[in-house]
């Protein structure tokens, strides 16, 4: 069959059945899908970055929001999300090891490594559910969402208080912290505090908030909650569908489908998707939790 192929109507558009990319149709389409998906996430994260800077100090700092760690008491900022990141990177490693085993037609190796990848994905999803639970529930202390009114800063600027979240200084609930710290000084200086008569006035028009949902957020501006639910939710949906896809391929590997076919390219294709999910998390981790 080699060297006898001539240009005819069947092969002309196919470049004589040679891919200029040196890749199969399926792999190419997976890459194209990933580009479009990457653009969606780029849009979400740039919008997040924009609003984060737009609202300045009204925006909560993630390290004050996500401070829990399972079975441990106290304040552990970033620790759990760092562990989640590690688990997802680890599952990316096991995925690429499954692809490598596929290239050697090592069915057992693919089963083992793909199995670990499935486990990593499941743990990550569970962790995300756990984190959502804590974010939705909030703290025991709660916060006060201020009502309509104005507040004059030490430098004379008048700020509108509607919707601004003020947090309690401590358990005694004797002082509220207003989030205008930049004007009050540099980032390490305390927030503006409200006590006594001013506090009573603010409490009368304000509302107590516990936890976060789409319209209220005890940690700060409600848009933070919206972005959190939307971006980590959209990413979690990707992880979930990734786990489903990996599971389907896993079953096929066990049944020997790809061994019969002579190659494990399907593992490579879901592998691309899985690495992409990990890649998105790398960015979510940076822009949501670190920056």
């Amino acid at each position: 069959m080699s060297n006898t192929a001539t240009m005819d109507s069947k092969t002309a558009w196919g470049g004589n059945n040679e891919s200029p990319y040196g890749a199969s149709y399926g792999k190419l389409m997976m890459w194209f899908f990933l580009i479009s998906d990457a653009l969606s996430f780029t849009g979400f994260l740039s919008a997040y970055g924009f609003y984060r800077h737009y609202y300045g100090s009204l925006w909560p700092s993630a390290e004050n929001v996500f401070t829990h760690f399972p079975f441990m008491h106290g304040h552990h900022p970033l620790l759990y999300v760092a562990l989640m990141t590690f688990i997802l990177i680890m599952s990316s490693v096991t995925m690429v090891l499954a692809v490598e085993a596929g290239h050697r037609m090592d069915r057992k190796g693919v089963i083992v490594w793909l199995g670990w990848t499935l486990l990593g994905g499941a743990i990550f999803l569970g962790s995300q559910a756990w984190e959502w639970y804590h974010f939705i529930h909030g703290t025991e202390l709660g916060a006060i969402e201020l009502g309509r009114g104005t507040f004059t800063l030490p430098n004379g600027t008048v700020e509108h208080t509607y919707g601004v979240i003020a947090r309690w200084a401590d358990d005694s609930k004797q002082a509220l912290l207003l989030p205008w710290r930049e004007i009050a000084g540099n980032i390490t200086s305390p927030f503006i505090q409200l006590t006594g008569e001013e506090l009573t006035k603010v409490l009368a028009s304000g509302k107590e908030i516990f936890g976060a949902n789409l319209t209220h957020n005890e940690y700060g501006h409600p848009l933070f909650g919206d972005f959190f639910f939307f971006i980590t939710g959209f990413h979690g949906t990707h992880v979930f569908s990734g786990v489903i896809l990996n599971f389907i391929i896993f079953v096929n590997v066990i049944m020997g489908t790809y061994q019969k076919r002579g190659h494990y390219e399907m593992v490579e294709k879901v592998g691309l998707y899985w690495h992409f999910v990990d890649l998105v998390w790398v960015f979510v981790f940076t822009f949501f939790y670190l920056v």
């Binding site: 890749a23 890459w31 849009g43 924009f50 737009y54 085993a101 050697r104 980032i187 960015f283 670190l290």
Partner: protein
């Protein structure tokens, strides 16, 4: 492994599958070494990022510098994942360009709009809230 010595496994795959990759035991060893090396690199970067995120306030490092470090390290991590784990570094040039160039162009375009057109949100706040 029972089918690994049939014709399909060694380059005689039917036409649509000729691009499916195979490699030998030695090549596999090399690839696995690369995979684990990359793992340590990714782990080191992540550990550094988390540590920096926790200590920068106490070390009184400038926040702008910290932020830029985070972004540069994140892009570095993304490069390692795409180039090595997603194998893009060893794909043909045509495939690399087709994937990287449109994405980078559109991403920069998005950022451009956010930086230049973002002023309208102030008007939104004024007129709608």
């Amino acid at each position: 492994m029972e089918h690994s010595h049939d014709n399909h496994a060694h380059g005689h795959a039917p036409e649509p599958y000729k691009y499916a990759a195979h490699h030998s035991e030695e090549e596999g060893k090399k690839t696995r070494r690369m995979i684990w090396n990359m793992f340590w690199v990714l782990l080191a970067i992540t550990t550094f990022e988390v540590t920096l995120g926790l200590v920068w306030k106490y070390l009184e490092i400038n926040w702008g510098a910290v932020k830029m470090t985070f972004i540069i390290l994140t892009v570095a991590k993304a490069y390692f994942i795409v180039a090595y784990y997603m194998h893009l570094k060893h794909e043909r040039k045509a495939l690399k360009n087709t994937i990287i160039i449109p994405f980078v162009l559109f991403a920069l375009y998005l950022l451009y709009h956010i930086f230049t057109e973002g002023v309208y949100s102030e008007m939104m706040d004024k007129y709608f809230f």
